[in-house]
Point group: C2
Chain length 405, copies 2
């Protein structure tokens, strides 16, 4: 044990504030064969484009296209950034040039680099209550102090954002950045209303903070069309827009696009030279072929049907099996339904019981930076086998019925 | 311009110490079609395993092996870590379990995570004079202060390491880490002698600092066998060994192995959850197939011939065309020959003239943290077309002849 002590003794001070996500631990548990998992936010492996991947790689390898296996530039493959600039304009109303886009190694890499460039030790960063822990982790790593703002069925309450910023200003604390998922929120499933989007940008302008907009689920809408991102209304370059391709292609290729003011992109590109040099080149060319061939568009249509059907089923099952009076969100896209239990009920205790019957979900508390939310839980409809979803929801419903009485 | 000012005004203080590498800028220049580049340290695209890559991906996709395109764990694919544990023991004498290995997204990602875990603001980190700027960049980002130690034909002068550490201790400064490339050094090409390896570990133990051992070129030996890494002699878990697979397979897959005390690996794994979640899964399974099928072994044999021939040629050309009395290293592996010009000659001026004839190389100054080395240059034999290498060396030789007189 002396050796163990020796090595850890040399750790940097910051290592002390590194802690593992409880959800990640839970997800490890949930992959046990017999467990029906409503826990993870992973896409469904049945929906990956296998045949396309084999064909595209074969093509590049047959041509001995060397750059596919070579180092790339830190901002990412130029043709991909060019294609994305056109597509983002057409689909999401975002005006950008290729030098306003950086390809990151997944959305988390984009959030890390964004916080690396903007967040100083001790600065306040607003987050939604609840929100995804990945964004919070990046903020915290750079010494940012996350402060939560409440949400409702229309997403974050923007009047509350203003009130919190003013209150903090009164205490001499300045807000540097807000982390937000306007579309098909994780874990809430809700979407920020159009009216609130305009207003949020106004507030950000007034108090001069950066908006870190995370949009992993934006293309997965099952009811109507997705709302335009905040980035499309960004007039002064304060929105850093992070668009993951994990859900519309594959998480295993580790790709996202970060769209920001070219000056911000330039700093992130310099920062990453000593972080990871460049995003995976093989993945980028594979995804470029996916985009150019028209497969991306067709695949999104397919995924909307695939996941939309599952969402509809989950909501039907909840309506059928959950006790009256239990509130839950009704998403129009994404992977999640968020459940509010009556006050006093503890989702951890429900999970413990639920796991006895091999049904897993995520207690919502993990998503609240203020320690609240013990009576909430997140249900994911992306991965559980369709035929087992009803049984799983029924089983949770029975546990809840006993507790609610 | 007001908008531009606005966004950059919000940058964190640390962005002030982010600056782009001059070599990277130079390499951009050197990819112009007409330029013969002896600049970059990239592998040669002609040597990538194209047919294998197509075949392996086709196999996985045909089997619809979902995990190949799915998220993976932050430490990397378990089967790959298991295979590597066996291979590292057999080939490099490193005793490790799979939980002492983390797969990183390239060596730079490993160095970033290592420094993230160990380096505190203001701590001294030793580096070789000269050394690779990637390791220095990671150290500097976390506030580490690189201090250079001189090298000779046997690598870093270990007596000098001891002297420098003692001198710093006298000034109340403690050394936290040393960044070192013992095998086929970049930019030197030299290899740390066996005797010095033992001694360096002793010094590290005596003064209790971490050794960050970078070994990107270790398998590319063209004369004799590669020396065993420091990690193989590590008795108290103070060596963090970073083994890139960019040169033996492809840089575009972004993979390296970090071998360290399991406690260190565990911290790096937690740290990366908010950096990049996990290394690319597609790449890892591709590389796993490469390893398991025996292709890695066969490919290394092929690469040794491929690059060894080029190294021999470059040295022949230098001997033939460079003026008498110009000193250069005689590597036994890797990608580089390092040239020492007579004092007073400036490699920047030589480069300027050389570029007029479309021949590029890297002035050595970039590799010296103490600002010295203006009379040195690095020549790479990995990428330039073989038939043009003679012409390029002759052209540099002529410029030198005029200057030396």
């Amino acid at each position: 044990m002396e050796e163990k002590t020796r090595v850890s003794r040399l750790f940097a001070e910051r290592t002390g504030r590194m802690s593992s996500s409880i959800i990640r631990e839970l997800c490890k548990l949930a992959v046990r064969g017999e467990v029906v998992s409503l826990a993870g936010g992973w896409p469904n492996s049945d929906a990956f484009p296998y045949a396309f991947t084999a064909k595209a790689i074969r093509k590049y390898m047959k041509e001995k296209k060397g750059e596919v296996l070579q180092y790339g530039t830190s901002d990412g493959v130029k043709e991909l950034r060019e294609w994305l600039a056109g597509w983002l304009k057409e689909k999401e109303g975002i005006e950008t040039e290729p030098d306003g886009i950086m390809i990151s190694a997944g959305a988390q890499n984009g959030m890390d680099l964004c916080c690396r460039v903007f967040v100083n030790e001790g600065e306040v960063c607003l987050v939604e209550l609840p929100t995804y822990f990945g964004g919070v982790g990046s903020i915290r790593f750079y010494g940012g102090v996350p402060v939560g703002v409440k949400t409702d069925d229309e997403g974050v309450v923007v009047d509350e954002v203003e009130r919190v910023v003013e209150k903090l200003a009164g205490e001499g604390k300045r807000v540097k950045l807000m982390y937000i998922q306007p579309n098909y929120h994780n874990p809430l499933g809700v979407t920020l209303s159009e009216k609130r989007r305009e207003k949020l940008l106004e507030v950000a302008r007034k108090f001069d903070f950066v908006l870190m907009e995370d949009n992993p689920y934006g293309d997965l809408c099952y009811d109507g069309m997705p709302s335009k991102p905040l980035k499309s209304m960004d007039r002064d370059g304060r929105v850093v827009y992070i668009k993951s391709f994990a859900k519309v292609f594959s998480p295993g290729i580790r790709l996202a696009a970060v769209v920001a003011h070219p000056e911000v992109v330039a700093k992130m590109v310099v920062a990453r030279q000593f972080v990871d040099c460049c995003p995976p080149t093989l993945s980028q060319y594979l995804f470029l072929e996916f985009c150019r061939s028209g497969m991306l568009e067709r695949h999104i249509v397919k995924l909307r049907k695939f996941y939309g059907k599952r969402m509809k089923k989950m909501i039907e099952h909840i309506e059928k099996y959950f006790p009256q009076g239990i509130k839950f969100t009704r998403p129009r896209g994404g992977f999640f339904v968020f459940v509010y239990l009556p006050d006093g009920l503890d989702a951890d205790a429900i999970l413990e019981e639920s796991m006895k019957g091999n049904v897993a979900f995520v207690p919502g508390k993990q998503f609240f930076v203020d320690g609240s939310g013990s009576n909430t839980l997140r249900l994911s409809f992306s991965q559980a086998p369709e035929e087992k979803m009803e049984e799983a929801i029924r089983s949770i419903g029975e546990i809840l019925a006993k507790k609610v009485k």
